[in-house]
């Protein structure tokens, strides 16, 4: 059984409002897939639906051949999917290390926890320096690292990342993306939601473009980099300040 995620005709409603109307895409084992789209296109809603935080009103979410679309979020993690959510959603009253350890809530063999901690601290040395500090005292870049590190602690096979570059300084974004490349080389499958198109297309193998809740376009990342329609969709939003929390 391969680690394939397949989302088909996904629709999510927030009461009368439609979060996403019709989204379909696939993430093959070992790939990096990007969900592109401007603010409000439905990226977060899609990732949250996969992670079990919101329920689809139509469509299916299949992971390794099983429909996981109706499972609650806590039942998704043990299946090997982890989300680094929009806005980080850290436990700001607790320390960096406590946040990371919370990521191991579903790890059955607790003897593995020190090794998992070590791995995250090696990936993000900054977190090791701040291990005893409350998460609420971290900078934006450190918070993103902690959100990613915390998601990695559950040893996911597919890591979902919601706008890891949002609101961060370019130098920090570069470091984070280098880390993503390294995690991918180590065999992790990635599904990445981004407004920052050029960045996402650099690491992705394949990308899907969302517009007002629908997948309107997809293709290999290299092809999309030069696609006129992609440029057009983004031209209007490129200069807009990226401030969303």
């Amino acid at each position: 059984m391969t680690d394939r995620l397949r989302v088909t005709n996904l629709e999510v409603r927030y009461g009368d409002l439609v979060g996403v109307a019709d989204v379909s895409f696939e993430v093959a084992e070992g790939s990096v897939v990007a969900l592109l789209g401007s603010n409000g296109a439905g990226k977060t809603t899609t990732l949250n639906a996969i992670a079990g935080l919101v329920k689809p009103s139509r469509g299916t979410i299949e992971w390794r051949g099983e429909d996981i679309g109706r499972l609650p979020a806590y039942a998704i993690v043990p299946k090997g999917l982890a989300l680094s959510p929009e806005g980080w959603r850290l436990f700001v009253g607790q320390t960096v290390e406590q946040n990371l350890r919370l990521g191991t809530a579903t790890v059955r063999d607790k003897a593995r926890v020190p090794a998992l901690l070590d791995r995250v601290y090696t990936t993000f040395p900054r977190l090791a320096e701040r291990r005893k500090q409350r998460a609420g005292t971290l900078s934006g870049g450190e918070r993103q690292m902690l959100a990613m590190g915390r998601a990695l602690m559950s040893e996911p096979r597919l890591l979902l990342l919601d706008e890891p570059s949002l609101g961060l300084a370019p130098a920090i974004v570069d470091t984070l993306y280098e880390t993503l490349e390294r995690l991918h080389q180590d065999g992790l499958t990635l599904l990445l939601a981004e407004q920052s198109v050029s960045l996402a297309l650099e690491v992705a193998d394949h990308a899907y473009v969302l517009q007002t809740g629908r997948t309107v376009l997809d293709g290999p990342a290299e092809a999309l980099q030069h696609d006129a329609q992609v440029q057009e969709i983004y031209l209007g939003t490129k200069t807009k300040p990226v401030m969303e929390h």
Binding site: A51, R89, L102, S154
Partner: protein, 285 residues
């Protein structure tokens, strides 16, 4: 010398206040539910002690443990059987649910035991300790020391263990906790169980030096609400300090002004603090 004795007595009483208020602060400050049945949980703890002593000949260790177990179960059941179903409702429906629970517990106790005051024998935990002229009654000393130890233990559980961290995570951000694979309902039930157990132990300890009646919970609940508001919602260390403070103020005003004034002074102080610092003396966490 007498003053020192009064203050010591206040601290020991205050420690017991701290223990049962910790239970209230745990589910109020962290789980965001006001449990109006809290005082009646203390009352049930007192009756469990009375029953175990009277009918099963159990000593203090037995009835304190029994009370912890009974109230842990009652706490878990209150959440899973009642509160869980009204959590998504309005604040009013939450209030009415726990208020209803309070009435059921209180009047069931009236019905079974009548309104007669009961008490455990005074010499159950041996007499009086003389510390260089300061006289301390042993039941209060034991109750105070056990209560401080348990309150600190609860704080340690919350801040130093994996399960405590998960409890706090659910109270901070329920959805983010679910993303960790934590089941919020289980943590809530556990919080109610822990709050119940601490409250039950406090009730059993109080029973060794206080009268037992179906409505005793009313008085004690008021104390708990004052302690929680002073100590900051959700703060166990805050509850500890506020509990000790209230105990000392009560005993001092009873000694200096007369017993009838002790509650008035406490509530006056309470109103004053809420006026100046609505977040309580210590704020959250």
């Amino acid at each position: 010398m007498v003053i020192v004795q009064v203050i010591t007595g206040g601290l020991l009483l205050g420690a017991v206040y701290a223990l049962f208020s910790s239970g209230l602060t745990l589910i109020w400050g962290m789980m965001n539910v006001v449990n109006f049945a809290h005082g009646d949980f203390v009352m049930i703890g007192m009756y469990v002690a009375f029953l175990i002593y009277t009918y099963l000949n159990g000593g203090p260790i037995e009835f304190v443990l029994a009370s912890a177990v009974v109230l842990f179960v009652l706490g878990v059941w209150s959440y899973t059987g009642l509160v869980r179903h009204v959590m998504s409702g309005t604040l009013l429906s939450q209030m009415l649910a726990t208020f209803g629970l309070a009435l059921v517990l209180r009047y069931a106790t009236f019905w079974i035991f009548s309104s007669n005051f009961r008490s455990l024998p005074e010499d159950l935990i041996g007499g009086t300790l003389n510390l260089g002229g300061i006289l301390i009654s042993m039941p209060k000393l034991v109750a105070g020391v056990v209560a401080i130890a348990l309150t600190l233990g609860l704080h340690g559980l919350l801040t130093r263990t994996a399960i405590g961290s998960q409890l706090l995570a659910v109270s901070e951000d329920r959805n983010a906790a679910m993303l960790m694979g934590i089941r919020p309902d289980r943590m809530q039930a556990l919080a109610w169980g822990l709050a119940g157990a601490g409250t039950g132990i406090a009730g059993a300890l109080i029973a060794t030096f206080y009268y037992i009646s179906p409505s005793v919970g009313e008085t004690l609940a008021l104390v708990a609400f004052v302690v929680v508001a002073l100590g900051g919602f959700g703060s166990v260390p805050g509850a500890l300090i506020a509990g000790l403070l209230i105990g000392v103020i009560q005993e001092l005003s009873a000694y200096l002004l007369g017993p009838v004034y002790k509650d008035v002074v406490v509530y006056a102080l309470f109103v004053a603090v809420l006026w100046i610092r609505p977040q309580g003396l210590f704020g959250k966490f």
